[in-house]
């Protein structure tokens, strides 16, 4: 009964989405307020029904209803409760439902927090979001229904993939999807600006906080996924340039370009059509990511059940949504004009250059991800593009981008002077060069790459401090704390996010340059030395988990005779799917992680054990958290709450006047 209720709720949501995606758009085009006003109730009703459907599926999971095919395929009666709940998005159908839930949540948020927007704009934004929702709801109902019954019911379920039975995996998909789907709001704003023909600074101001919020979630989602891969896959790697990872990374790069471009459009009225294009691209890449993961066009370690039938549906959807909006772009955007004029040396130019670098980087990732597909389609053979390609491309493209990150915030809008910038940044430059040259020596070995990575990170921090300092000097005020308080939250958000990038770069550089690992055969009592640490293998015992049995090793780690930690790596066998899982033991520290995983037994109580020392690895995720916090600060800026109302009214008047003239 409950699953049928869920299905019915989905069908009702589809009807509401159809209403939301058509009538308000027509109403906005023809100027019919009563049709435009349908947008908000339809969006909110849709959210209620999608939430009911999601609740129904969760209920079936919690109560082990194995007469539902999807539950039987992704859960098991012995599965602990938290993973039965996470199992809801453990497979294809449920992840789609999560996608739709997130979309309706964003849509509802737009409908609630948009009282200051003109009616026609909100009708168009919600209308576009409604159309996207129509696509996904019908995709789900017609090709991937999570509520399909399995008759007769299975005795028990096939269990959730053991890789996904992990706290990181409980949170990773919702975060990631919040980000992915959030770009649909930026997209909807861009499309409605194109439709209305009012492509101006106000449009950028409205869509900026939404875009930043989505970007923030995406940052956290990707970081969580990377962290999960690090400790759960048991190899100690944190990024694999896997197609599915790339699928989440491309929208991130595009979204990063977009939030910077939106800043220029809001502040200076420039880059308008470029910003619109970025908004379309960011969402297009989110959709493309969904297509790549779900269609089976590309193989991946994340291989979920894939199905070409579904691929055709998503591809058609992609053509309609993205092809349609790019056609609209071609038709409308060339009339927009370039907006505010700026000189070659100006903050606009720096931001534009960074933008281009980010877009090219996203393009390079796309190329690397799809290259095997291109070759296969042209009949030139099968191959895969590996990390070396991506790493080289990234170092080459991101190094200048990181350098410009230091210069941009200090440069003036419209026209800046290079000599003046050089004078203001000379100390930041000297300090970061000297430190970067010396710092690797403390690690015992100097390498050019380590020095270069640290240089970029230090440069970002030093130039950010310089920027803040010169800004404080210009701020009138008696005391330093008053001056500090006078700066806006979004300014601090920007600085924090940039410092986050620096912290991230430190993590990547140090891990790449100084990580050490050893695969050794250890019998009980043996000791292995690595990076100044001694790991002694003390023994093995058997452990029973709720739905697995495990062999657990005990290793005592000492450094110079002093105890550091006792570590318990495990090898688990999950009862239902019989998969062996390596559960690494990690000792986390501020400047290094110790990472121990059990390999295979090699007779006589001896095991192959992999021990790793990973310097500064946690800075990678720490940096991501700082970036996300920077985004949060920017979104919480006062001007979005206090000034929005008053200003928009003026804008609406001005727009009305412009339309009348």
């Amino acid at each position: 009964m409950i699953p049928e209720l869920g299905q019915f709720a989905l069908a009702l949501a589809l009807i509401l989405a159809l209403t939301q995606g058509t009538l308000p758009l027509v109403g906005a085009a023809r100027g019919m307020p009563s049709w435009m006003n349908l947008a908000r109730p339809a969006a909110q009703g849709q959210f209620v029904f999608v939430a009911i459907a999601f609740g129904c599926l969760t209920y079936s999971f919690i109560n082990n209803d194995f007469s539902v095919l999807y539950v039987a395929s992704n859960s098991n009666s012995a599965l602990p409760l938290q993973y039965r709940i996470a199992g809801v998005w453990g497979g294809h159908e449920g992840s789609l439902l999560l996608w739709v839930l997130m979309l309706s949540l964003w849509t509802m948020a737009v409908s609630v927090f948009s009282s200051h927007l003109p009616d026609d704009i909100i009708a168009r934004v919600l209308g576009v979001l409604g159309l996207i929702s129509v696509g996904f709801l019908s995709f789900m109902l017609f090709t991937s229904n999570p509520f399909d019954r399995l008759l007769p019911a299975a005795m028990d379920g096939r269990d959730l993939n053991p890789l996904l039975q992990d706290p990181g995996m409980v949170l990773h998909p919702p975060m990631l999807y919040m980000g992915y789907v959030g770009f649909s709001v930026a997209f909807a704003f861009a499309i409605s600006a194109l439709l209305s023909g009012r492509l101006d600074a106000t449009w950028a101001r409205w869509s900026r906080p939404w875009t930043t919020t989505a970007w923030m979630f995406l940052t956290l989602g990707i970081a969580l996924g990377s962290w999960w891969a690090y400790y759960e896959l048991g190899w100690g790697g944190w990024w694999f340039w896997d197609p599915v990872e790339n699928a989440s990374f491309m929208p991130w790069l595009m979204g990063t370009a977009l939030i910077h471009s939106l800043a220029v459009t809001e502040k200076r009225g420039a880059f308008k059509s470029w910003t619109v294009l970025l908004a379309i691209f960011a969402f297009a890449l989110s959709l493309l990511g969904t297509f790549l993961v779900r269609s089976g066009v590309i193989t991946s370690v994340h291989a979920f059940a894939t199905d070409p039938k579904r691929g055709i549906f998503i591809l058609a959807f992609l053509v309609i949504v993205i092809g349609g909006s790019l056609a609209l772009f071609a038709w409308r955007a060339h009339r927009v004009g370039l907006g505010g004029h700026f000189e070659v040396v100006s903050r606009e130019t720096f931001l534009l250059t960074n933008n281009v670098l980010l877009v090219v980087a996203a393009g390079a990732v796309l190329l690397g991800t799809l290259y095997p597909l291109f070759l296969d389609a042209l009949g030139l053979g099968k191959l895969s593009v590996g990390p070396p390609y991506f790493e080289i491309v990234f170092v080459v493209l991101m190094a200048p981008a990181l350098f410009l990150m230091g210069v941009g915030p200090l440069a003036r809008w419209k026209q800046a002077s290079l000599p003046e910038l050089a004078v203001r940044l000379k100390w930041a430059f000297v300090v970061s060069v000297v430190t970067a040259l010396l710092l690797p020596l403390t690690m015992g070995q100097w390498t050019p790459l380590a020095s270069f990575g640290l240089l970029l990170a230090l440069w970002i921090v030093a130039s950010s401090v310089t920027t803040l300092w010169s800004r404080l000097k210009q701020t009138p005020g008696a005391s330093l704390s008053k001056k500090l308080r006078a700066q806006s939250r979004s300014y601090y958000g920007m600085l924090l996010a940039h410092v986050g990038v620096a912290v991230f770069v430190v993590g990547v550089t140090m891990v790449k340059s100084y990580e050490a690992e050893k695969d050794v055969r250890l019998a009980i009592g043996d000791t292995v030395e690595l990076g100044g640490y001694a790991f002694r293998f003390d023994g093995l015992n058997e452990v029973k988990g709720p739905n697995y049995t495990a062999v657990r090793g005990t290793l005592t780690v000492t450094r110079g005779g002093a105890g550091v930690a006792t570590m318990y790596p495990e090898k688990r066998i999950y009862n239902v799917q019989k998969n062996a899982m390596t559960e690494a033991a990690i000792n986390t520290g501020f400047t290094r992680d110790l990472y121990v995983s059990l390999g295979e037994p090699v007779g006589d109580n001896a095991w192959v054990v992999r021990v790793q020392v990973k310097p500064f690895v946690d800075w990678i995720w720490g940096g991501c958290v700082l970036m996300a916090l920077g985004g949060l600060l920017a979104v919480l800026d006062r001007r979005y709450r206090v000034a929005a109302r008053a200003r928009t009214r003026e804008d609406a008047l001005a727009a009305g006047a412009a339309a009348a003239s």
Partner: protein, 179 residues
């Protein structure tokens, strides 16, 4: 902005991409040349599903072209491909043997009763040990094994009518011609 054609550029690039993605859909990235292809099928001797006291090993089919289908009663995609096997068994093209993978005996027999039994016989690999030798990483999987016991084709996931018609049947015909 006189050169309005330039504004069509993003659309053009996108459409090229779509064409490739569309072509990509017709290809099968899972058709990775399995390391087992061209190698002798890993040997096994396992109890038969219906008569557990008897065993079966590849020696019993030496000199024939045969199909090994990995299946399980808990496997939903198996049910999708199953009618194809039932049809194929009726056509009597090649003997189909089942490897019943990580399954309970009673469930499997009930499942065959319900959906039909296309197999000459099935063997029980209740622990999944043979599955490891064959590199089974998803059920169903299907192997075409030639007269000398060499694996010639491997399908990961359910066999579709297209794969059966365009790949498996021609291969069986070819293998049966060669002696």
């Amino acid at each position: 902005m006189k050169r309005w054609q330039w504004w069509l550029l993003p659309l053009g690039i996108f459409l090229v991409l779509v064409v490739f993605l569309g072509v990509g859909l017709t290809l099968n990235p899972r058709e990775v040349p399995s390391p087992l292809i061209g190698k002798p099928a890993p040997p096994f001797e396992l109890p038969q599903l219906h008569e557990p006291q008897k065993t079966f090993s590849q020696k019993d089919v030496a000199g024939k072209v045969w199909l090994l289908n990995v299946w399980a009663s808990w496997c939903a995609p198996c049910r999708e491909e199953h009618p194809l096997w039932v049809e194929l068994a009726k056509a009597n093209v090649a003997p189909i043997y089942g490897l019943n993978y990580k399954d309970k005996r009673a469930d499997s027999i009930a499942w065959l009763q319900r959906y039909g039994n296309p197999y000459v016989l099935s063997v029980s690999d209740s622990q999944g040990r043979i599955g490891i030798d064959y590199g089974v990483y998803g059920v169903p999987e299907t192997y075409v094994i030639d007269k000398r016991g060499v694996i010639r084709f491997k399908q990961i996931g359910p066999v579709t009518p297209t794969v059966l018609k365009e790949k498996i049947l021609p291969l069986i015909a070819k293998l049966n011609e060669n002696t």
